[in-house]
């Protein structure tokens, strides 16, 4: 018996060796998670600032100036950790916040722990005591939008004008009514009425400074949108809210049907490419048919 045959009779790798190896790798990768940390102010800027100011007026969410005097800390922390649960529980103050925010539910913040929530409240309290908080809100131009702004916003939305800092085009994940053809992406929300939903130009602009949804945040913290781009996008969203374009809700079905038709075409191509293929191997031979030596 040669070596190859002897090797072939060796047992399969044992489960233990697999588990040991996997456990080793597991230990290696547990470390980096704990090493990541954020300062409270940076955390606030990245996660809260798109919807809240401190003494700068209301955006999508309420102005947080002196919020710890309006409600006790324990309640605030519970709300910060899970706003939806508080609303579902029927908490009257949570419902009031929801109504004032035009039905926009505060997103659950990734990485927010109870300890960090208390640190955020400390920060808000300290900033509220200042005459001018660093979180007073970003100032945007309030000049009237022009047709050029709307056009430029549409170009950015579609990706025809790339975002200066390399962020993906809005159309990658979002759609607005009236885009035509197969419309925009559907991973994120339909943005046709986003301007009305979040309360107009100022909150929408602030939101775009550091988009706070869990999906967008990690992408745009590395590729922030420039103020001029925000202006154009907001102009486009305000315009799209006014327009009643074609309803593209059938776009996914159209997309699927086009894919299906393409698949049938490719199958036809396969059939014609391999038209001389064997249609059976043993059958004609065993049944005494003609001897075949070709394909």
């Amino acid at each position: 018996m040669n070596d190859s045959c002897r090797a072939a009779r060796k047992p399969l790798p044992t489960l233990w060796s697999c588990i040991l190896g996997a456990s080793f790798v597991l230990l290696l990768v547990m470390f980096p998670e704990s090493a990541r940390g954020q300062e409270t102010a940076a955390f606030f800027k990245q996660n809260c600032y798109s919807c809240h100011t401190i003494n700068g007026g209301r955006l999508v969410g309420p102005d947080l100036h002196n919020v710890t005097k309006r409600k006790d800390r324990e309640w605030l922390v519970r709300f910060m950790l899970n706003p939806q649960a508080m609303i579902d529980r029927g908490d009257p103050y949570a419902k009031q916040i929801l109504d004032e925010s035009r039905g926009v539910v505060m997103a659950q913040i990734a990485g927010l722990t109870r300890e960090r929530a208390f640190l955020l409240l400390d920060l808000i309290e300290a900033e509220s005591a200042l005459e001018k908080s660093q979180f007073e809100g970003v100032k945007f131009s309030d000049r009237p939008f022009t047709a050029q702004d709307v056009f430029q916003g549409e170009q950015i939305f579609k990706g025809l004008t790339p975002l200066a800092n390399g962020g993906p085009a809005c159309m990658s994940c979002h759609t607005v009514r009236g885009l035509g053809l197969l419309g925009g992406g559907r991973l994120g929300a339909d943005l046709t009425k986003v301007s009305e939903r979040v309360g107009g130009r100022k909150p929408l602009s602030a939101w775009l400074v550091s988009p706070a949804t869990t999906t967008m945040q990690p992408v745009f913290k590395l590729h922030p949108i420039e103020p001029e781009e925000i202006l154009s996008l907001v102009a486009f969203f305000e315009d799209s809210a006014k327009r009643v374009g074609d309803d593209d809700s059938v776009a996914p079905l159209t997309f699927f049907l086009i894919g299906l038709a393409g698949m049938v075409l490719v199958l036809g191509l396969f059939d014609s490419l391999w038209k001389n293929r064997f249609r059976a191997v043993r059958r004609p031979l065993v049944s005494g048919g003609e001897m075949r030596t070709d394909a």
Partner: protein
């Protein structure tokens, strides 16, 4: 509840990929050293060839293109985003990807039905084949579902999934890119880990055998040396 979700997300997206990769590399190498002759697709083409064609060909060409697409977006995300910067180009890419995804799905369904309904093929079907089929079916169905309902995958894959995958490669997993994704996307990722981890225990190892001429070889030539009279 929030913390429970956190731990589960950490486990599924921060730890499971490493377990899968560890299994993949360790067992693949050990199996090749111990049982080199088991590196085979164990083809059942000789048992039945007609239905096999409509499973094997769409499945292989479909899955190769789809996997290549994932690799391109992983290696060249900026290029993919630049290509998708024009809606028409985006649509062409997405439709092409969907066509090959559907071909994969059709091929997989066809091979599964053949394995379950054709007695000779069923006889040579192992438990590992069945598990692999189920895993692949979940993977392809979730992939096609994501492509259709969570469009446009080629763009957001390059923007979100690629940084996540690179964070895995760099041993610094950043799961924030994927934890808020829809269920179907998460299922696709977790099931991909299962497929990678299970890979070395299955006939899938045949893809690692180089050279691999399955895709371009000439059709099989079979010669019958005895005349029909001699057989009777």
């Amino acid at each position: 509840m929030g913390n429970t979700h956190n731990y589960l997300d950490q486990l599924l997206f921060g730890v499971a990929p490493y377990l899968a990769l560890a299994l993949f590399f360790l067992v693949t190498i050990q199996r090749y050293r111990a049982q080199a002759f088991t590196y085979s697709s164990l083809s059942s083409q000789f048992l039945e060839n007609e239905r096999h064609f409509w499973g094997m060909v769409p499945l292989h060409y479909g899955i190769l293109v789809v996997i290549a697409g994932h690799f391109v977006a992983f290696l060249f995300p900026r290029t993919v985003l630049a290509w998708n910067g024009h809606p028409v180009r985006l649509y062409i890419l997405e439709i092409s990807a969907l066509i090959f995804g559907l071909l994969t799905l059709l091929g997989l369904m066809s091979t599964l039905v053949r394995r379950l309904t054709y007695s000779k093929v069923r006889t040579v079907t192992s438990i590992s084949d069945i598990i692999l089929h189920v895993l692949l079916l979940i993977q392809v169905v979730s992939g096609v579902y994501v492509a259709v309902t969570c469009s446009w995958g080629s763009s957001w894959f390059a923007a979100s999934a690629t940084p996540y995958l690179w964070s895995i490669v760099m041993l610094d997993p950043d799961i924030s890119y994927v934890i808020a994704m829809p269920f179907a996307v998460k299922l696709h990722i977790v099931n991909a880990c299962l497929v990678i981890g299970f890979f070395p225990f299955t006939r899938l190892v045949h893809v690692l055998v180089i050279p691999n001429p399955y895709l371009w070889r000439k059709p099989q030539v079979v010669r019958w040396n005895r005349s029909p009279e001699a057989r009777n």
